[in-house]
């Protein structure tokens, strides 16, 4: 009984605190315009030296952001660009080898990253056989990356067979996209 009352009190306290926060925030907004004007005034008084320093800082920030974006884009590409396979095959086609070379470059430049390679199949095979085929696909990709100098311990494989198709569909365009190895940074 006692516990329940304490809990109820705490909930009430929390709710009233929330309401206070909300009303405070509103007040701040109301007083903002005048504060903005004051700041503007002081900025006008900055020395040229100070402005240059700030500009340099801003440029530095932008450069870092661009680099971060580039790395993020690279990571995204690494994870989103699948390699595809022929029907009932785990052999790497020329296109797949090209993509894997890019992935090896990325992994070389980002030597701290470890990855999981997922093997997938289209829906046309039988489910159990596709589990095996999916693993063969993931292992083909792993072996090729190993040949390109990526340490084995950085790469895991898992097969999802036909259980997780990328796209739904009953035609070759859907099937060919689903016959893939997918790369995930751990």
């Amino acid at each position: 009984m006692g516990k329940k009352i304490v809990v109820k009190m705490m909930v009430l306290l929390f709710l009233s605190a929330m309401m206070l926060t909300v009303s405070c925030a509103k007040k701040t907004v109301e007083t903002d315009p005048s504060a903005g004007i004051e700041n503007q005034g002081s900025q006008d008084g900055l020395s040229a030296e100070e402005i240059a320093r700030q500009r340099a800082l801003e440029e530095e920030r932008l450069r870092e952001e661009a680099l971060r974006n580039a790395i993020a884009a690279e990571r995204e590409k690494f994870e989103n660009q699948d390699i595809n396979f022929d029907y009932d095959s785990s052999e790497l086609v020329p296109d797949a080898r090209m993509v894997l070379k890019e992935k090896a470059d990325f992994l070389t430049r980002n030597s701290g990253l470890t990855i999981t390679i997922e093997g997938h199949c289209d829906e046309r095979g039988t489910t159990e056989y596709n589990l095996a085929l999916g693993e063969k696909r993931a292992m083909s990709a792993k072996r090729y990356l190993q040949d390109l100098g990526i340490a084995e311990f950085r790469m895991n494989t898992i097969s999802y067979g036909e259980e997780r198709p990328l796209v739904q569909g009953n035609d070759e365009s859907a099937w060919s996209r689903n016959r893939r190895a997918h790369f995930v940074i751990r």
Binding site: D88, R124, G125, T126, T127, E128, Y129, L131, A132, L133, E135, K136, M139, T157, I158, S159, Y160, E163
Partner: protein
């Protein structure tokens, strides 16, 4: 016409025994547990079956099942009797070798006239084409039930089987199934499908979990609730264990579930731990493991320890299934460049190729008689069930032109094959005879159903 190959005169002690039994029924009502009282010596005909269920030109035997006699006649008893007739009609119709006749044709009403041999005018049944006749009498009192059932050969005018079952009213279904199993044993020399269960995979909110149902699709119950990818159920011979693969912990691991305690043993080696198959009559199973970097079939103990490696060739080796005596196993290998069925020797591991037609043959299922292997073949994007002799002869296509058909599994008597098919859209479980006839939907259920796997006849729930 059905002909009896051997007659046991003790079968004919009909009328008096039944009357005595009927009068003493109140005593039996006190008996709470389901027990069977055989008051005729078992009909010694098992060694000579009436029909060969493997015959592709099998003619269905017409059987008449008139309404059962409600002995005391109260409402509950009448309802139970009607239910029992329905259960029996559906069960016998399911066999594929019996044809349950329309009651509209019946001339005689044993529920009024009498259900014993002396009370039956066999001519009234032969004239409408009935070759077998089943009569029943039911007594219900305070939830206790006494059900007596008789099977007659109407042309020979003889009683073939007579049994009395007592128990709770909830037991009526299993009483009927036990009688059906007796009929099956008499007619085919096998216990049939009655009492067996089918495990299958169904998608529930998008994820695959394992369920089981009765042989006829009824009584569905859920086995796993991983809400992940769970597949490939495999029954142990005694029905106490179900092995399967699940991604519940991320990796495709092998589970060995004791259905009596719901406890799991998990084989979680690096890579694949998939496609389990129990060694008949033993607490041991085969499965594909890929921890070595290659996918090979291993023999495991029932507790998941590796006993030895069964395949050693490089490349895909999966989906083992044992011959009934366990000395051989069929499996899928890509060693020739395409997936094909091979037969391996359980002792030596040496293997020979079984299938040569087509570029994609998988999912073998060895028949309970040991002479045939059902499998899935893909020809021009068409996925169908085929059957081939264990010696490579007699290749036959069982399904065609109706969606994708996968995952064949034999009924314990070898008369039926369960499979999954997309012929009606989402994948559903279907059943057909071993010759491909009488293809029918087993049940409808939410999601998509795949991977039906039949337990042995003695399998528990």
């Amino acid at each position: 016409m059905v002909f009896i190959t051997r007659r046991n005169t003790t079968n004919l002690r009909d009328t008096t025994n039944f009357m005595v039994a009927l009068n003493s029924c109140r005593f039996f009502l006190l008996c709470g547990l389901l027990c069977i009282l055989v008051f005729f010596p078992a009909v010694a005909m098992a060694q000579h079956a009436y029909i060969n269920i493997k015959d592709p030109l099998i003619r269905k035997i017409p059987v008449a099942i008139p309404f059962f006699k409600a002995v005391t006649g109260h409402e509950e008893e009448v309802t139970l009797g009607k239910n029992a007739v329905d259960i029996m009609s559906n069960a016998l119709d399911f066999t594929g070798y019996l044809f349950v006749m329309d009651k509209g044709a019946f001339i005689e009403n044993p529920s009024i006239k009498g259900i014993t041999g002396s009370e039956i005018n066999y001519k009234n049944w032969t004239v409408i084409g009935s070759e077998l006749l089943i009569t029943g009498g039911i007594v219900e009192q305070n939830g206790a039930v006494r059900l007596e059932l008789r099977l007659f050969d109407t042309f020979k005018e003889t009683l073939l089987i007579g049994k009395v079952y007592t128990g709770h009213k909830e037991d009526v279904k299993s009483m009927v199934y036990r009688f059906c199993a007796e009929i099956s044993m008499l007619l085919t020399g096998k216990m049939g499908v009655f009492g067996s269960r089918i495990a299958f995979v169904s998608t529930v909110s998008g994820n695959k979990d394992i369920f089981t149902c009765d042989f006829d699709g009824g009584n569905i119950s859920r086995v796993t609730s991983f809400n992940n990818i769970t597949m490939s159920p495999a029954w142990s011979s005694d029905g106490n264990f179900l092995s399967f693969t699940s991604y519940a912990k991320g990796n495709p691991n092998l589970y060995i579930r004791d259905l009596r305690t719901n406890k799991d043993i998990v084989v979680a080696k690096k890579g694949l731990n998939i496609t389990p198959a129990w060694l008949p009559g033993q607490f041991a199973l085969a499965a594909t493991l890929s921890f070595s970097g290659d996918q090979d079939i291993y023999l495991l103990t029932g507790t998941g320890e590796i006993k030895r490696q069964l395949t050693k060739e490089a490349g895909i080796d999966i989906s083992p299934c044992f011959s009934p005596d366990g000395t051989k196993f069929a499996f899928v290998s890509k060693r020739s460049g395409t997936p094909q069925i091979y037969i391996g020797d359980t002792g030596s591991g040496s293997a020979t190729r079984l299938t040569f037609q087509g570029n994609y043959n998988t999912s073998p299922a060895w028949s309970p008689d040991g002479d045939k292997i059902a499998y899935v073949g893909i020809v021009k994007n068409s996925i169908n069930i085929y059957v081939i002799g264990a010696n490579g002869s007699g290749l036959t296509q069982l399904t065609s032109g109706q969606g994708d058909n996968e995952d064949p599994s034999w009924s314990p008597d070898g008369n039926l094959i369960a499979f999954s098919s997309t012929r009606q859209g989402a994948s559903r479980i279907f059943v057909m005879t071993s010759t491909g006839s009488d293809q029918k939907l087993l049940f409808t259920f939410k999601g998509a159903q795949t991977d039906p796997t039949w337990s042995s006849a003695s399998g528990n729930k």
